[in-house]
């Protein structure tokens, strides 16, 4: 099993391929002109920051703390469940 530390050592291209093939999409948010997509992979999370949505990646940020998931919770639409 890959640890968060191992993942951070990988080149961006390998990170992207791993997230694409094995990551679980959690959600999307925007801050200013930046789109951010959150994936869960192994036991941690990875946020992909885009300069251009799903095309030009600015950075990939990884973390394990669940408090950083909060911004995505407000994006989840539960209207259809009510």
């Amino acid at each position: 099993m890959m640890t968060l530390y191992d993942f951070t050592l990988l080149p961006d291209r390998d990170k992207i391929n791993l997230l694409y093939e094995q990551g679980v999409y959690i959600g999307k948010r925007k801050t200013g002109n930046t789109s951010i997509i959150l994936y869960q992979f192994e036991g941690f999370y990875a946020e992909v920051f885009y300069r251009t949505y799903r095309r030009h990646i600015e950075t990939i940020s990884c973390f394990a703390e669940t408090t950083r998931l909060d911004p995505y919770l407000t994006e989840i639409n539960v209207e259809h469940l009510v």
Partner: protein
């Protein structure tokens, strides 16, 4: 001399995410001379558009459906499409954030393609080619010949 333009190939795409719609429209821009992408914000709108087409209207060369959409999801739309004689053999691709084997199996069962939404530019390039690969061979040739 009068020139008659060949009708464009129609790609129908349903997705509730405006960014993804823009992404796919951009991807098909290079084929804009002979491909028209018609987009819908949910699958029920797309389904009702498709149901209202007559035999005089051209069949879409490809239908792209997101899976997770409110009202009607892409899987239900795919099931309903396959029940319509007109669309029982039309190429369909589920284009989704999911990479779950369960969803892939579902696509296979209903003879649809399955493509996970890309993370980066290079993947999007490949995916655009993959979209076209799902069209019939004749359509693929026509689309690629002009571009």
């Amino acid at each position: 001399m009068t020139k008659f333009l060949a009708p464009k190939h129609i790609v129908v795409y349903a997705d509730d995410d405006a960014d993804d719609i823009e992404l796919v429209e951009d991807a098909f821009k290079r084929y804009a001379t002979n491909v028209e992408v018609i987009t819908f914000k949910d699958a029920s709108q797309a389904l009702s558009y498709l149901k209202n087409q007559t035999d005089l209207d051209p069949l879409p060369c490809l239908i792209i459906l997101d899976i997770n959409m409110p009202l009607m999801d892409g899987k239900e739309a795919l099931m309903r499409l396959r029940q319509l004689q007109r669309y029982e053999a039309t190429p369909v691709v589920l284009f989704t954030t999911s990479s779950l084997p369960l969803d892939k199996d579902f696509a296979r069962r209903y003879e649809a393609g399955f493509i996970t939404k890309p993370l980066g530019y290079e993947q999007m390039e490949l995916i655009t080619k993959e979209f076209i690969n799902h069209c019939t061979e004749e359509t693929q040739k026509k689309i690629r010949r002009i571009n």
